[in-house]
Symmetry: C4
Subunit: 349 residues, 4 copies
Amino acid sequence: MTQEVKLEYNAKGMPFRRLGNTGLRVPIFSLGGWLTLGRTVKGDSATDIIKVAFENGINMIDTAELYAKGESEIAIGRSIKDLGLRRTDLIISTKLFWGLRRGPNDGGLSRKHIIEGTKEALERLQMDYVDVIFAHRPDPTIPMEEVVRAFNWVIEKGWAFYWGTSEWSAREIEEAFHVASKLNLIPPAAEQCEHHMFHRERPEKEYEPLYRKYDYGTTVFSGLAEGILTGKYNDGIPKDSRFGREPEHDEERASLASEEGQAKIKKVRELAVFAEKELNCKVSHLALAWLVIKPHTSTIILGASKPEQILDNLKALDVLPKLTPTVLAKIEEILATKPSSVVSCSAFA
Amino acid sequence: MTQEVKLEYNAKGMPFRRLGNTGLRVPIFSLGGWLTLGRTVKGDSATDIIKVAFENGINMIDTAELYAKGESEIAIGRSIKDLGLRRTDLIISTKLFWGLRRGPNDGGLSRKHIIEGTKEALERLQMDYVDVIFAHRPDPTIPMEEVVRAFNWVIEKGWAFYWGTSEWSAREIEEAFHVASKLNLIPPAAEQCEHHMFHRERPEKEYEPLYRKYDYGTTVFSGLAEGILTGKYNDGIPKDSRFGREPEHDEERASLASEEGQAKIKKVRELAVFAEKELNCKVSHLALAWLVIKPHTSTIILGASKPEQILDNLKALDVLPKLTPTVLAKIEEILATKPSSVVSCSAFA
Amino acid sequence: MTQEVKLEYNAKGMPFRRLGNTGLRVPIFSLGGWLTLGRTVKGDSATDIIKVAFENGINMIDTAELYAKGESEIAIGRSIKDLGLRRTDLIISTKLFWGLRRGPNDGGLSRKHIIEGTKEALERLQMDYVDVIFAHRPDPTIPMEEVVRAFNWVIEKGWAFYWGTSEWSAREIEEAFHVASKLNLIPPAAEQCEHHMFHRERPEKEYEPLYRKYDYGTTVFSGLAEGILTGKYNDGIPKDSRFGREPEHDEERASLASEEGQAKIKKVRELAVFAEKELNCKVSHLALAWLVIKPHTSTIILGASKPEQILDNLKALDVLPKLTPTVLAKIEEILATKPSSVVSCSAFA
Amino acid sequence: MTQEVKLEYNAKGMPFRRLGNTGLRVPIFSLGGWLTLGRTVKGDSATDIIKVAFENGINMIDTAELYAKGESEIAIGRSIKDLGLRRTDLIISTKLFWGLRRGPNDGGLSRKHIIEGTKEALERLQMDYVDVIFAHRPDPTIPMEEVVRAFNWVIEKGWAFYWGTSEWSAREIEEAFHVASKLNLIPPAAEQCEHHMFHRERPEKEYEPLYRKYDYGTTVFSGLAEGILTGKYNDGIPKDSRFGREPEHDEERASLASEEGQAKIKKVRELAVFAEKELNCKVSHLALAWLVIKPHTSTIILGASKPEQILDNLKALDVLPKLTPTVLAKIEEILATKPSSVVSCSAFA
């Protein structure tokens, strides 16, 4: 780990950071409800995952109204009740955009859906409030003023402490700050975005001014590139993997088989060798540790279909001290995915 | 339909638009409680109309404290309960101005009446909130600041998501935007106004700057000119029609009989022939379709004393593709009601 | 009545005006709880007075936490319950400043007392809200920002629709407008002040810029100069009158006996003759009618120890048409109390 | 007492002042929950102290979530219930910063902890609101905007009337005013700070501009320098004293034994002789009286492990008239702790 990045650790040895410019301390790894909780993992199995996560310092759970059509929120809420966890010890985030039904107002970022949707999400979660509520997507069809006013209303109502964006462009986030500033309302705190070794342009370049100006945070998903960075596709797509098993992943399968996909696999193989030989770790641990030390990563959301996966991912923390400038340079050399720098004014000096 | 107008359709084939500058999607046809629901149509009959409307994609119902002296709101609320409709799937609007009693504070747009009136309307509707609350008329006797503050309060309280105006002058709406902007409050979203082939000056000319500057919407009533555009008065006033039956319609009867009235009837006859011969539709379908393609029509409120009327009106949607520029020009030629253009600056160039 | 003053009348023949710059319509005569309700007049007797007042169009009742140490609010609340009056048909105002106990925070215009005091007043009144809450006195010991913020909070909470001042200087009211404007809060609506033929400097001259700039209203008390303008002290102080009966009125007795007091009595005698001979009315009716036509009198608060007093006072309305410019000039001649005019800019032209 | 300082007294003979720039009247002595209530003093003993304090005009109690790990708030709440004291007659303040558990969000001044922490404090106190909520420490890790917004939210919610700071630097308090002013929110009212004859730099010099500009108040703790100014350490550390008894006070014992500590003791001895001979009082009474007459001392928080200590401290009030300019000068001569003056602009004139 380079000297510039200092981490604080909670009592369970989990590093934490502030969520962007807020005072909320989020663990560097959080548990995501996407794809698993309430869908492939239910009941006691979901509770087991949450229990192990919590016992290991992962006290933040991210979900969305969309996930498993509301069942993710229901499963998480039920598990927390069953485990008897104290609400203040937890950080819960959910996301709104795609509603659960088919009406034209059942989704998007209208005041109607933000308010009705938050209320329904809280009912599914059996909670009085979430810590963070995200706009799961931007809604370019309606004025930003309505969006910012509605999220501010949810916060003033006491239904959330902070709000964030997900998959918004830098311009849209900038507009949200502009509107919040003009109307004296609360701006968003963080962006839930895809960030991994093969997806860097937006989180590392497009958002750079937001980090600099607003100390904006990111809650990262797909940190392992949907599994590619675990190396499990290095020798083809296993039958029992997500891409191998589920028919809706035809596109991903094709993508992996493409020239570009195979180029990625080649890099992952090279990286895996480097990780094992030089750093004595798995490539997945390296890929996660590499995200942890990005200073604007607030948290990395981990999916899990069994508790062991969580425990395995946590080994990434052991890699942190090994990420010296030389090691990082070697990684960049293998990846060759670093976004070109923004031309700064001084370039013309 | 000219190329400029694009419509989105909900799952039941009903086109919808945003309500003015808001994120609320309203169906292009909505159901109105005026004159019928809770008055001439009660109990199960009202429920039947709402059921058929909802099944055909009309998920918006407009009412007012004034309609049937509160009975309209009561009937609508009861029918929705009986039908077991989900609140979030519905858009409910009501309007305040004339109270139900005789006191000097029982009406108008004072803070007292807006707050007390909304509370009572919600009780009659058996709902926690309406989607839109309209000022049923302007109240020139009191400062605009009190009006805008009070509607904003109702929205902040969670009793409504949006507010609108009805029968306000463009200057009054402009003042509401001015005050809202000055005080950082929520401006109105739409105007409930009369708009049909024989009433165009205000909605098409006076409000034009509001459409342009604020993307203001209209929720149109009397789209069929109180029945004249159905052609039912083409051969005199039928005994069993609204004007023929009810003694309070002396004025409308006289108006129809006047020279001006007879000129209108003549145009309707001509239009009916054109509709049937050239477009293979009834004149009422043409009159409604002609409103649908006005880009600032958010919704057209349909009254109905039986479900079949709703179904018949929906046939207007089939006419939309037939409204070519040539057809529209022919309609204007027959009507000769198009407002003269506003003199624009370029006229002096 | 001069042509400039136009009055609207409610269904019971009672004229009403807007309360200052608000949309609240207040009857020109209102019922005051001071001195009588809950103190000398209790239980059914209080209810009778309120009943007769209400039946005659007086739908506004003014009280204060101070009056009869809270018993006034209790009596009014109980009577309204007993009469089964509808809350929305009533206008209730109360006033805060002197609390009911002896603590240093039990009074004044601190945020603590305004919030705690309003809550307790509502409990005594058995109501969810009052229409108007008055600051019974100014509180020069604390910043105006705290006062305006606290009354605004009470209004935002829904505990009152409007707030007002009582016995504030014009400068203090001006400061309240200044602070409200700066902080985007709701300014006061009206001043509860003493105004009668012998007390004119403040309401007619000091407040004049507030009427002009803010359309400020007045809710007038002591319109009959604590009884002097009824003529009942014209022949000395009757044993059964307020001044004659109660030991705490030594000061008023002395005042009446003074040279200045006797000069007033002389004028009342002269006015009484004029009223009876020229206008066919009692001097008290003339004195009240003279207040009604002041354009910034929102309401005149009448005290009553029996229903008949209310009914007698209402006869002042019959005098209104008789107040011609000539009559008004004659009254000014007798009184000789008209404040000298403010020097206006045009005086230097 | 010098002529400039005028005190008002409540009905029980206790002087009171406004809390900084607010309208809240706080008694010059208040009762503190630190170290004793809910910790060394529990149940009926705590109730006895509160009872005696209240009976002697001390109607303000200060506590904190931190004190006795929440047991202080619980004990105070229970005692007040047992005594049947009226909430409006009391002033209750509590403080947030260090939470009661170990999580990274269980403490600090994040919106999450301020809201969750206030809610939990109110539950422990069995109250709907406190009068003042203090930020027990500054939180330099998060933007001031979040802190000010969150305390403002607590006040708007009705959970507190005012908020304050504790152990903040003048710059941090200035920033809070800046942010509150920019966002139109409520600024803090007072600083809870250490102030006594041996700790003067911050309260008398650093905060001076805050007194001048904002009329900022102080709620003083350790007015007797943790007992040193009672003279009880004049002849060494008694076995049964706080420093003598408790092992965690090694540092204080060492400090007392140091050269600097012995110099303080020497001054206390000299002051004690002066107090007894010239003013006929104990040195502790003099030390407290000396704080009372500082014009920005809003209240001095007294700790007590038995009722008699309260009563003894109150004798300081008898010393007030004796604090003539000559006496004050003599005290300064003995102490030699007066902060050097700030260089004012006029120094360059």
